[in-house]
Every structure is written in structure tokens, then in C-alpha cells.
């Protein structure tokens, strides 16, 4: 942690980066994203199991991008990212949203994070994405901090099991999802925290035509949640922020995970794996399955 602070401070002092996006501690079991431009403020930076946010989302914010822009051109931004968050960076590079050369990736050698703020870090409270994590460090990082430790074994229970839902008959699945989506209040927190939801104006805010009904009744909620999952198909890197941000506890990542599985199963594609890969949507293979087509 001290190393990170020192390193970040150096970066700012040497004006190598325009800002450092990191975490600060707010309360015992809670951190908050922080954008630091003053070298002395780097002492606020922390790295721990409560660094839940995927800070990559900030890299694409107009306000943050403006920080990096000066008369002379674009300056680098430094971002603190967990190895799994770096997958989002990879996806964003593939989608022309950020340039690797404009970025300084400060990675944390991660040993898992908690499922939500306020929880004690132990096997019971391990975040779902960490359960079968295999990216404790990333080759894309410019510099990694902290030691690699083992991720605790998950001893808790997940509320929804993907495979169980897959087993349900279609009508039950529809019932399940409708019940879940009915809770949606369309606060779009899922969209706001998603690093891959970077559209200037979201499809759901478009009125000519009205792509998705803005009302949060069943129909509008169903449309929104399906389209959200669809737009993230083959793109979602599984950071799970949408589900964490959802105030109504909708198991959003079920859909995302299912689509990630499908992408792999049908096309052998894993999002955020390599910047050299062509994106799943936007490329094709003549040998793609023709099974669906009469």
C-alpha cells in the first residue's frame, strides 16, 4: 500500500500522469473511488479487500477524460485495477474506448474481495466472482502491488445457482426472471457502474424511436434487462458490479454469466482476454453454428 502511494505520488510529481484513479478508505469496511491530481493526496490511496469498485468505469467518463486532455494533447491516466478489472480495460481497448499508451495500469495482486461493503473478509463473504477466480495477477499491468496470497475458500452460499435455473422448464424460468425484473426501478445503477456501458446516450434514453419503454412495469423492465444483457453479450468481463450496485438485489449477473458461457461454448470467445482478439460481435467465422437456421 505504501509502495502504491509512493509510486502514485512519483507519477504525479513527475507529471507522468494527469491523475490517479484509486480507492480511499471511508469507514471501516468501505472504500470509495477517488480521483487524485495532487501528489500529496496520494496518501489517501488504499489497497485491500474492500476495493470493490471497478474503477475502469471512470476511464471513459467525460469528466475524467477532460482531466487528461490539455493543450499539448492527451496525458496518461493511472488507474488502480484489480486483475479482473483489467479485463474490462482489455475489452475497452478492443472497442477503441481507451488507448493502452494513454494508460498506466497499477494492479493489485488480488486475493479476493468481499461481496459487499460492511462485510468481514472471510470465506463466507467472498465475492461471487472471486470463487473461481484464476486471474490473481495480470500481464497487462504496468506495475503490481502487494503480495500474492491465496484466495480464501468460499464457504458461503450463493443465493441463485445458475445451473439450477438452467434446469428449470422455460415457463418457470420466465416466471423467475419476470419476478426478478419486476423489482427493477430503472435507477440504471447497473448501467452507471458498468465499464462497458459507455454510450453517450443509452438506447433506453432514446426516444425516436422509443427503443425500450422507460416505464418500469413488467414489460419495460423485461425489455431493459434483456437488452442490457444482450448488449453485454460477448463483452461483459464479469466484474459483477451491476449486481452489487442494484438496490433491488436483482441477480443481474446470472444473465451476464450465462451469456459469457454461451459465448465460450458457441464461439470459444472470452471477453477481456487479449487486446489482440477480434471482438465477438463484429467478427464472424464462416464455420459458426448453423444449427438455429432452417
Amino acid at each position: 500500500m505504501d509502495e502504491l502511494r509512493r509510486f502514485a505520488r512519483e507519477l504525479l510529481l513527475k507529471k507522468e500522469v494527469a491523475a490517479v484513479i484509486g480507492y480511499e478508505q471511508v469507514g471501516e469496511a468501505r472504500t470509495r473511488p477517488v480521483v487524485i491530481t495532487d501528489p500529496d493526496e496520494c496518501r489517501r490511496l488504499v489497497l485491500n479487500e474492500y476495493c470493490l469498485n471497478n474503477l475502469v468505469v471512470y476511464l471513459n467518463r467525460a469528466r475524467i477524460k477532460a482531466l487528461a486532455r490539455s493543450k499539448e494533447g492527451i496525458r496518461k491516466l493511472a488507474v488502480v485495477a484489480k486483475p479482473c478489472d483489467i479485463r474490462s480495460i482489455v475489452a475497452l481497448i478492443q472497442e477503441n474506448q481507451i488507448r493502452r499508451e494513454n494508460l498506466m495500469i497499477l494492479s493489485m495482486n488480488c486475493h479476493g474481495v468481499v461481496r459487499d461493503f460492511g462485510c468481514e473478509f472471510n470465506g463466507d463473504n467472498l465475492a461471487a466472482k472471486c470463487i473461481s477466480c484464476n486471474t490473481q495477477s495480470s500481464t497487462y499491468a504496468d506495475k503490481s502491488f502487494g503480495e500474492v496470497r491465496e484466495i480464501p475458500k468460499f464457504t458461503g452460499k450463493l443465493e441463485y445457482d445458475l445451473s439450477e435455473i438452467e434446469q428449470l422448464p422455460p415457463s418457470k424460468r420466465m416466471e423467475f426472471f419476470r419476478e426478478q425484473f419486476d423489482k427493477c426501478i430503472k435507477c440504471y445503477a447497473c448501467r452507471a457502474v458498468c465499464p462497458l456501458c459507455y454510450c453517450q446516450r443509452c438506447i433506453t434514453d432514446k426516444t425516436i424511436p422509443r427503443w425500450i419503454e422507460s416505464s418500469s412495469h413488467s414489460r419495460g423492465n423485461f425489455a431493459w434487462n434483456i437488452v442490457r444483457a444482450l448488449h453485454l453479450s460477448g463483452r461483459c468481463t464479469g466484474c459483477g458490479e451491476c449486481e452489487r450496485a442494484c438496490p433491488m438485489d436483482i441477480p443481474l449477473s446470472l444473465l451476464n454469466r450465462k451469456m459469457a458461457m454461451k459465448s465460450k461454448e458457441l464461439f470459444g470467445y472470452e471477453s477481456g482476454k487479449s487486446t489482440d482478439n477480434p471482438t465477438l460481435v463484429g467478427s464472424y467465422d464462416q464455420k459458426d453454428s448453423d444449427e438455429l437456421f432452417m
Binding site: V26, G27, R30, T31, R32, P33, V34, V35, N53, V57, Y58, R61, A62, R63, I64, L67, F117, K183, I185, K186, C187, Y188, A189, R191, A192, V193, R201, D205, R210, E213, S214, S215, S216, H217, G220, E241, R244, A245, P247, M248, D249
Partner: protein, 337 residues
């Protein structure tokens, strides 16, 4: 008019059972929201629970409701007035920080033009508040003139004396009307014991003085503090939608067939970029810092000026649920020089 009685939990549940049997709606705090109780065994009545993730706002001001139906034909349009279902809603065990919310919003929905959709629903509310015996780092009811023992907004108010018994205060006439048929379940209260419990309430520390905040906001429309928040805030509306008193809405038409449709009134949030976006592309609050400034000003200054009330109950939901941990208490506390 406050009158105090004693009621056993099992009797209270009996009353609830009766409410459900009558076909009225019984709401109680659930896991993350106020839920319609179908069976009294679901009722927890835990004074130590933190506020639910969202308030019961949607039952008085639904997240989405039709205000009219229309039918188009060749040249003509026929309108059908939407109606509000006048069924009674009993809220059991509402937090003191929630009970007052309807009163706060009432002013807005009734200045000059009266929004009967809101009023009719509010009229049918029976609010059974309950003393709150907990708080966390985000609670600040005491800073905005509320408290864990506030009866404000409640028709009936419960004070948990033990696991099994409650002191029941009849706060309003509406409350009395509701409880009267069940007087047989009530017995005389030991007011001294109640007072003891009340005085042991864990008040969250006062974080700020709303008057000072009001004054500071008036002077600091342009303050660098807003920029800092604007950098971190991601422009979702979790805070607005979870808030018990945020009341902005949108009106949209949606067709459900070729010739028919309905006009919907939907929740909207001032943190959304398109909230104030003109069709021409001009946007008066184009960046997040301006939008967050509006949020704080609206709650702690404009609403106070307009309606004499703070548009905040101190429940802390917006902070607790904020995906990027923005703490309204911290921000408002910092609204000083």
C-alpha cells in the same frame, strides 16, 4: 391527542391478520424493501433493523403509473381517465425516518395543482410507525429534525418494550379509527416504562445544522466542492429512487396496440443526464457536478425556501446504497466554510 396503550405482539399480529383477511394491503419492511405481507408469519417487527433499501414511496407514488388511457381513431381521440385504487394500505413497523416522508412530499403534490393520484393513495395510508433502536454510520435523522422516536407522520406508533410487547401510541384520529375495532386487544400502558425505553434511544450524532447548510448553499452555488463529487458520482438514480421523499417524475406515452395506449407517470431522477436535456440538444445541467449540486440544493435549500421543509429524512439510504460510496451526510456536513 396521543394516547398510549399496551399491546402484545401476538395480538398485533392478529390485527394484521385481520387486515389481510379484509383484503387491505399490509406493508411491512422486508429484506430489501417494504413488501406486501401475505401471511403474518412473515412479519419481523425488528426495531434493530436498518432501513430497507428503498422506502414505501412506490405505494404512494408508484414507480410507474398510468394517468390516462387514450384511443385514437381516424381523426378522433377518446380519453379514459385513470383511476386510483382506493384500497387501504396499512404500513406496519415503518421507521420514523420513513413515516414523515408522505407529509414532506404532500406539499409539492398540492401546491396550487393537486395531484389526486398522490392524495388518494396517501389518504388511504394507515401508518404504524415503530421506534428505531439502531443506527449506522449513514443515519442522520437527528440532523434534519427527525429522530428514532419521532411520531411524525405516524397514525399509530409502536414502542417495543420487549420481544413480546409494545407500547402503542394513538397519534392521529385516523389511527384511532383504525385501531378502535381492535380495542379489545389493547390494555393500559405503563407510560413510565415507555419513557424509559424512549429515553434509551440511540440517537445518531447530529452531523450538521440544516440552517447553516441552507445559508452556506446560498453562498456557494459555484464551489469547487461540487467538482470533486462530480468526478466520482456515476449518474445513476439509486439515491433518488431509494429516497423516501425524492419525487421527480417523467410523463411518457406508450401504445399497447395500434390505436390504444396510456400515458404513464414514471419516476425520474435529477442525476440522469437527459433529465433536463432539451430537444434542441441544449442541457442546462450538462455535467454531473451541476446535477449533484442541484440534488443537494433542492433538498436542503430550494425545498426549504419553497415549502419550509427539508427534503430529507436522514434515513441514509442514498449513501448506504451508493455504488461509489458517496455519503450525503459527509457532503452536507462539509457544506461549511
Amino acid at each position: 391527542m396521543t394516547e398510549e396503550k399496551l399491546i402484545l405482539k401476538e395480538d398485533l399480529l392478529r390485527i394484521c391478520d385481520d387486515v389481510i383477511k379484509k383484503g387491505d394491503t399490509l406493508l411491512a419492511p422486508g429484506k430489501s424493501e417494504y413488501v406486501i405481507v401475505k401471511d403474518v408469519s412473515e412479519i419481523k417487527l425488528d426495531p434493530e433493523a436498518l432501513p430497507t433499501k428503498i422506502s414505501f414511496k412506490s405505494y404512494v407514488f408508484p414507480k410507474s403509473e398510468p394517468v390516462l388511457y387514450y384511443k385514437r381513431s381516424k381523426n378522433d381521440v377518446t380519453l379514459i381517465d385513470a383511476d386510483v385504487n382506493g384500497r387501504k394500505i396499512v404500513v406496519l413497523g415503518a421507521k420514523p425516518c420513513d413515516t414523515g416522508s408522505i407529509d414532506i412530499m404532500k406539499d409539492l403534490f398540492n401546491w396550487d395543482y393537486r395531484d389526486e393520484f398522490f392524495n388518494l393513495r396517501a389518504k388511504h395510508f394507515i401508518m404504524i410507525g415503530m421506534m428505531c433502536k439502531t443506527h449506522d454510520e449513514y443515519c442522520f435523522c437527528t440532523s434534519v429534525g427527525c429522530s428514532p422516536v419521532s411520531e411524525n407522520g405516524s397514525d399509530l406508533f409502536l414502542i417495543p418494550l420487549s420481544d413480546k410487547e409494545f407500547a402503542l401510541r394513538i397519534v392521529t384520529e385516523k389511527g384511532r379509527e383504525f385501531i378502535e375495532p381492535y380495542f379489545r386487544f389493547l390494555c393500559d400502558a405503563d407510560t413510565k416504562r415507555t419513557e424509559e425505553v424512549l429515553s434509551a434511544a440511540k440517537n445518531p450524532e447530529t452531523a450538521f445544522d440544516p440552517d447553516e447548510v441552507h445559508e452556506w448553499l446560498g453562498r456557494n452555488f459555484e464551489s469547487p466542492k461540487w467538482d470533486g463529487i462530480g468526478e466520482v458520482c456515476l449518474s445513476c438514480a439509486q439515491c433518488a429512487f431509494a429516497c423516501p421523499v425524492c419525487h421527480c417524475f417523467d410523463i411518457v406515452d406508450e401504445d399497447y396496440s395500434y390505436s390504444e395506449g396510456r400515458r404513464m407517470k414514471n419516476w425520474d431522477g435529477c442525476q440522469f443526464g437527459h433529465f433536463t436535456l432539451h430537444a434542441s440538444g441544449h442541457n442546462p445541467r450538462d455535467i454531473q457536478s451541476k446535477r449533484y449540486r442541484q440534488r443537494i440544493n433542492h433538498k436542503f435549500r430550494y425545498y426549504v425556501d419553497k415549502f419550509g421543509k427539508i427534503l430529507c429524512t436522514g434515513c441514509g439510504r442514498c449513501s448506504r446504497g451508493c455504488p461509489v460510496s458517496i455519503d450525503i451526510k459527509e457532503i452536507v456536513s462539509n457544506c461549511k466554510d
